[in-house]
C-alpha cells in the first residue's frame, strides 16, 4: 500500500517513463511533418523494425558481447537499419509525390506502413519474439514504497540526452538551420543553394533512428517484440505530436510526456478501462482551447 503522495509520485514516475517513449517516437513524426507536411504513418512501423533488428542482432552478438555492450551494438545496428529504411521510404515512396496533393502522400504513408508491418509479420510468422538479456530488470532504488529501477533511470537519461542533442542540432548547426529554412519555404531554399533533397533525406534518417532507439529500448525493457507493436504507439505518438504542436520539436517532447502522465493518472484514479477516455478527453479539450497545440504556431497560408 502507498500513502497518498507516494501513490501520486509513483504514478508520475510511471507516466514520465511511458511519456518519454511517446516523446521519442513523436519527435520523428513532428520533424517530418514540420519539414514536408507529411503525416508519416509508417513511423510506428519503423519503431517496430528498430525493436525487431535490436532483438535479432542481440541474438547474434550476445555470445561474444553479453550485457550492455551487446545491447549498445544492437541498438546502433537498429538505428542504422531503421535510418536506412526511413531514407529508402522517403526516396522511393515519398519524394516522387512531393508535388502531388497531400492526400496522395498520406495514402502512400499508410501503404508503406502496411508493407513494413506485413513483411515483418511474414518473417516472424505472426509469433511474438522474446528478448532475454540476462540482466536483472528489477534492480533499482526504493524511496519508501516507490520503486524506480536502474533500467528506467537509464532509459529516462537516454531520452533526455537525445532530446537535448536534437534541440541543439536543430538550433545550433548549419544542417539544423537548413532544416528550419526548408520548413518555411522549400523553393527559396533551393534558390539560395540548399540541397533540399539531401536535407529532407537527413530528416527522415534522424527521425527513424530516434524511433529505432525507442524500439530498441522497448525491446530491452519490455522484452517482447511483435509485428503489430508499432500501431498503437504510432497513434499515441502522433497524438502527442499534435498536442505539443505538430512541427515543433519541444512540443513533441512536451506532448509525449503529458500523454504518458495523463494515462498513468487516469489508470490510477478512473481505472485502466477509462484511462484513454480520460487522457484523450483532456487532449480534445486542449485542442479546443489551443487548436495549434501547446507550442505550435498558427500557420500562415501561402498562396
Amino acid at each position: 500500500m502507498f500513502s497518498a503522495w507516494e501513490l501520486i509520485l509513483q504514478q508520475l514516475v510511471n507516466g514520465l517513463i511511458l511519456g518519454s517513449f511517446y516523446a521519442l517516437v513523436a519527435l520523428g513524426y513532428s520533424m517530418v511533418y514540420g519539414i514536408i507536411k507529411l503525416l508519416n504513418f509508417a513511423h510506428g512501423d519503423i519503431y517496430m523494425t528498430g525493436a525487431f533488428i535490436c532483438l535479432s542482432v542481440y541474438g547474434a552478438v550476445s555470445g561474444v558481447l553479453p550485457g550492455w555492450t551487446g545491447i549498445a551494438v544492437s541498438v546502433l545496428a537498429a538505428m542504422a537499419v531503421s535510418g536506412l529504411l526511413g531514407f529508402l521510404a522517403q526516396k522511393f515512396a515519398y519524394r516522387p509525390l512531393l508535388s502531388a496533393p497531400r492526400l496522395s502522400l498520406l495514402i502512400t504513408a499508410i501503404g508503406v506502413s502496411l508493407v513494413i508491418s506485413n513483411t515483418v509479420m511474414v518473417i516472424t510468422k505472426s509469433q511474438p519474439l522474446f528478448f532475454t538479456s540476462g540482466l536483472d530488470n528489477s534492480l533499482g532504488i526504493k524511496f519508501g514504497s516507490i520503486t524506480v529501477t536502474y533500467i528506467q533511470i537509464i532509459m529516462l537519461a537516454v531520452s533526455a540526452i537525445l532530446m537535448i542533442s536534437l534541440t541543439l542540432f536543430i538550433n545550433r548547426t548549419m544542417m539544423g538551420k537548413a532544416m528550419r529554412a526548408i520548413a518555411l519555404d522549400q523553393d527559396t531554399c533551393a534558390l539560395v543553394g540548399i540541397n533540399v533533397n539531401k536535407i529532407i533525406g537527413l530528416t527522415f534518417v534522424l527521425g527513424s533512428a530516434l524511433a529505432a532507439i525507442a524500439g530498441g529500448m522497448a525491446c530491452v525493457y519490455y522484452g517482447n517484440v511483435q509485428y503489430n507493436m508499432g500501431y498503437m504507439i504510432g497513434i499515441k505518438a502522433f497524438t502527442a505530436a499534435v498536442i505539443g504542436g505538430i512541427g515543433s520539436v519541444p512540443g513533441a517532447m512536451l506532448g509525449g510526456i503529458l500523454l504518458g502522465l495523463l494515462e498513468a493518472l487516469g489508470t490510477q484514479f478512473l481505472g485502466s478501462s477509462w484511462k484513454d477516455v480520460f487522457a484523450f478527453g483532456l487532449l480534445i479539450l486542449i485542442l479546443i482551447l489551443r487548436p495549434n497545440g501547446l507550442l505550435g504556431r498558427s500557420e500562415i497560408e501561402r498562396m
Binding site: 509513483q10 510511471n14 517513463i17 520503486t147 529501477t149 519490455y222 517482447n224 485502466s272 478501462s273 484513454d276
Partner: protein
Amino acid sequence: MLKKSVLTSKSAKSFIAKAVASALTAVLLTGCSGASSSSNENEIAIGVISPTSGSEAYYGTDMVQSYQLAVDEINAAGGVLGKTLKLYPEDDGCDANMATNAASKIIASGADFVVGGYCSGATVAAMPLFHDENLLMLISAANSTEITALGFEQSFMFNSPGTHAALTLTDLCLSLGTTKAALIHQGDSYTKNLSDICEEALPKSGIEIATIQVMEKGAPDVSAIVTAVRNSGADFVYWCGYHADGSNVIKQLRQGGYEGDIAVGDGSASVELITACGSAGEGVYVTSPPFVEFAQGGDKFVEDYKAKFEVNPGNYATLCYDTMYVLKNAIEQANSTETDKVRDVIANIEYQGLSGLIKFTPERELEVSNFIVLQIEKGEFKLVEL
C-alpha cells in the same frame, strides 16, 4: 480462446448457411435414400468435424490424430462388437459456412456417430444438421456455453466450460490463503468473459476482488496498472489474457515491487510463457487445460503419439482420446450402435480418462472441472496438487 470470438461475427451468416445446407442435405439424402447407412456391415463409421485448414489447422489436425490413435488401438484389440471403427474426417475450417458443408458430407457418408468440434462458432453451426439426423455428437474441445444452450439431447461436451476455470482458480486461491484478488483482462470477449466469471465466483468463497484492470493489447507499458494493483492491496493477481502480453505483465509486476502470488489463465498456458518471463516467471501458477504430460499414464500416450505422427500431442489430445474410448465403452455397454441407446449410456457414464473424470450433468456438460494447476519451477511447469 479464438473459439469464442468467431461465434458472434458469423452467427448471422451461419443461419442462412445452415438453412441452405439443410436444404441441400435433404436433396442429397432423398436422392440417394437407402444408401446413406454405413456402406460396410463390419464397420462403425465415425465422422470427425474439426478445422484441418486455416488458422486453427494445428489443433484440428491434432484432434484427428488423437482420435486415430485411439481408433487404431481399439481395432488392434478386436474392435467394438466385432466391428472395426473407421474415421471420416471433414474440415470445418473454424468457419460456420464450411462447418455446415462438412456436416452435410459426414451425414452423406453414412456416419453412425460424430466426434470433433474445436471452434465453438463452427460447432454450433454444424450441430442442428446432426440433430436433424438424430446423430450422436461428442464434442471434444469446443467449450462455449452456447453449445449446451442449444439443448440437443444427443450432444455431449467433453471439455470444461469457462466457468470451471473459475472453480479451479477458487480452489487455488483458497489453498494459498488469498484474501484479495486482482483481475487483469484485455477487453476482448474471451478474456473479459473469463474475468467476469471469476469476478462472480471468487467472492462466493470469501475472496474479495481488490481491483479489475484492463490492459490494452500490445501496450508496452503497464507500470501504471502495476501501481494501481499494488495500491489495491491485492495479494493475488490473475491474468486472464494471452501469453505474449502476459509475460510483460508478469515482468512488470515483479519489477514494480509486487510480491504476492500471480496466476494466469488457459490463454497463457504455453511453454513460451516460461521463456518469455525469464526469472520473473518463477512461482507463477497456470490454470491449464489437461496437458497430457501431467496426466496419469500420459507418458505412454505421448510416446505412442510421437511414434505414430512424429510430432508432440497438442493441448486437446487427451480430450479427444478419451472421447473415443467413452464412445467405445458406451457402444459395448449398450450392445448396439443405435443413437438413443448409446446416448443413455453416456449420460450415466463415469470414465476416468487421461483428461480427468468424465461424468456428465443433466445439461450434458462435465460435472468436475478438468482444469489443472501448474506452477513454473526452475524454468519448467510442475503439476500442483490442490
